[in-house]
Amino acid sequence: MTPLATPLAGYLLVAALLFAIGLAGALTRRNAIMVLIGIELMLNAANLNLIAFWRFGPHPEALTGMMFAIFSIAVAAAEAAVGLGLVIAIYRHTNTTELDKINRMKG
């Protein structure tokens, strides 16, 4: 069968690809902020999954997937705030945001 026979599969594949891209970014970039951005991308891919499952799932009126997505958006916002705050704090300590220069616990 063709991969995109069903709409759900299309969305899931896009989400998977986006997830992989985000992961690659988080794994390969040096800058801490870029890692955070990659993580945000991964979260978003997950959200896309949730929404897609909600839309094509058997019980859309239960709103479960939607709620999950909304909550995870909120949580992602919090995560971004704290993460970036940490990055800034680290930058104050060791004048760099290059991850492979930051490998000691005590600054």
Partner: protein, 166 residues
């Protein structure tokens, strides 16, 4: 599978790729914004109006701005000396590829099994509000607490600490 979906998917993925590949951090931030916008449009395409707008409001309105601020505050706006990719980028790429392979395989394996309904679900904001206030009220409260804690925490973490003399 209509054209709109393909266009939006292409937009989103292009934004994601640009985010990962571009050298300049600010460009990356802008590219990721494009990806966010594409995702929001995909949500709309999936008849999830509320989630889509929330996505725009939170990600483009707040997270993107946060990222940009962080970049400027850490002098990330000028290019680093050694390249932007870490020394062992190949491994990372391989692992990411592996993840995608597994996920894709899983999707193609299991998507047939999922029962699907293609009727457009009618979900008004009112329903969402009721669900949030009724069935999901506890999660809502917890998320509210979490956000408060995160705000305070972020402020405290990023605050200037006293210059202590060694």
């Amino acid at each position: 599978m209509n054209a709109v979906f393909y266009i939006l998917a292409a937009l989103t993925l292009a934004g994601g790729l640009a985010t990962v590949l571009l050298k300049h951090l600010v460009h990356c931030a802008l590219a990721v914004t494009v990806a966010f916008a594409g995702l929001a449009l995909l949500f709309l395409q999936l008849d999830a109006q509320f989630a889509g707008f929330a996505q725009i409001l939170v990600y483009i309105g707040a997270v993107a701005i946060l990222i940009v601020f962080a970049i400027l505050l850490t002098r990330g706006s000028e290019l680093p000396k050694g390249g932007v990719f870490s020394s062992t980028w190949l491994v990372g790429l391989a692992i990411a590829a592996g993840v995608f392979a597994v996920l894709g395989w899983a999707v193609l394996q299991s998507v047939r099994a999922v029962p699907q309904q293609n009727a457009v679900p009618v979900v008004t904001v009112h329903d969402i509000g009721n669900a949030l206030m009724g069935r999901y009220v506890l999660p809502l409260e917890i998320v509210a607490l979490l956000l408060t804690a995160a705000t305070i925490g972020a402020v405290i973490v990023a605050m200037h600490e006293k210059e202590r003399q060694p």
